[in-house]
Symmetry: C2
Subunit: 140 residues, 2 copies
């Protein structure tokens, strides 16, 4: 989506106080090229040919979330998914996600379709952290 260079990734990591290891650079690069959030398993599968262990992928994804370089989303199927915090390059926008009930496919929803703003609910101010839309996709 953003497709940053390894050099940029390296800088981002160092700024976050994390070492710029091949596994982390590859993780960030992969997620920068993905149009949708990826699961631990999906990232692991991709980094396997680099000889990266799945435990390392787990730990790195969590560490990168802790460093605010990634965002972790729970899309209702008990699998964490990860995307670049600035995934859609509009400054860290909190955008909704769509999950197909049938095939499990995930899309990012542009904010113009569904605004992720804070709500006033029954005289309560609520802070929105995530919006999830579930339904049937075009193929299902």
């Amino acid at each position: 989506m953003n497709d940053f260079s390894p050099a940029v990734m390296k800088t981002l990591l160092k700024q976050a106080g994390l070492r710029a290891t091949p596994a982390r650079i590859a993780t960030l690069t992969l997620l920068s090229q993905s149009s949708k959030p990826l699961s631990h398993a999906e990232v692991s599968a991709e980094l396997k040919n680099l000889g990266v262990d799945k435990t390392t992928v787990y730990r790195n994804l969590n560490d990168l979330v802790g460093a605010n370089l990634l965002r972790r989303a729970e899309l209702g199927d008990h699998i964490w998914r990860f995307e670049l915090a600035n995934h859609h390059d509009e400054a860290c926008s909190l955008h909704p996600h769509f999950v197909c009930i049938d095939c499990g496919d995930v899309f990012c929803i542009d904010e113009k379709y569904l605004q992720a703003r804070d709500f006033q609910l029954e005289n309560q101010n609520v802070t929105v952290k995530e919006i999830l839309v579930r339904g049937h996709c075009n193929n299902c």
Copy 2:
């Protein structure tokens, strides 16, 4: 929340084509008295003194969801929680729900705040079945 009698539970089960067993009646009764969705573990703990096995609780909760008597919610901690499907006793319109990440409280969101209509996503028509908003409520 609704506190139905065992007799009503029995009727609901039969209408759904399910046998009205003690474990199921106890499950529905428990959830009808709860102001919050309950987890498998919480329901199991409660039904243990009736001699109900935890596997049976798991299966019943899932079956009751399948029969649309319960609704299953993922509140962001990778633990399924269950509540009566008519928990909010309003007409079953497709309205969004808000879940507090901290306390697990659930609110219905009026459609005027967030329209639960079908979307046109990147040249794809998707059928919306559920909209879930997660965040921090006023108390948290």
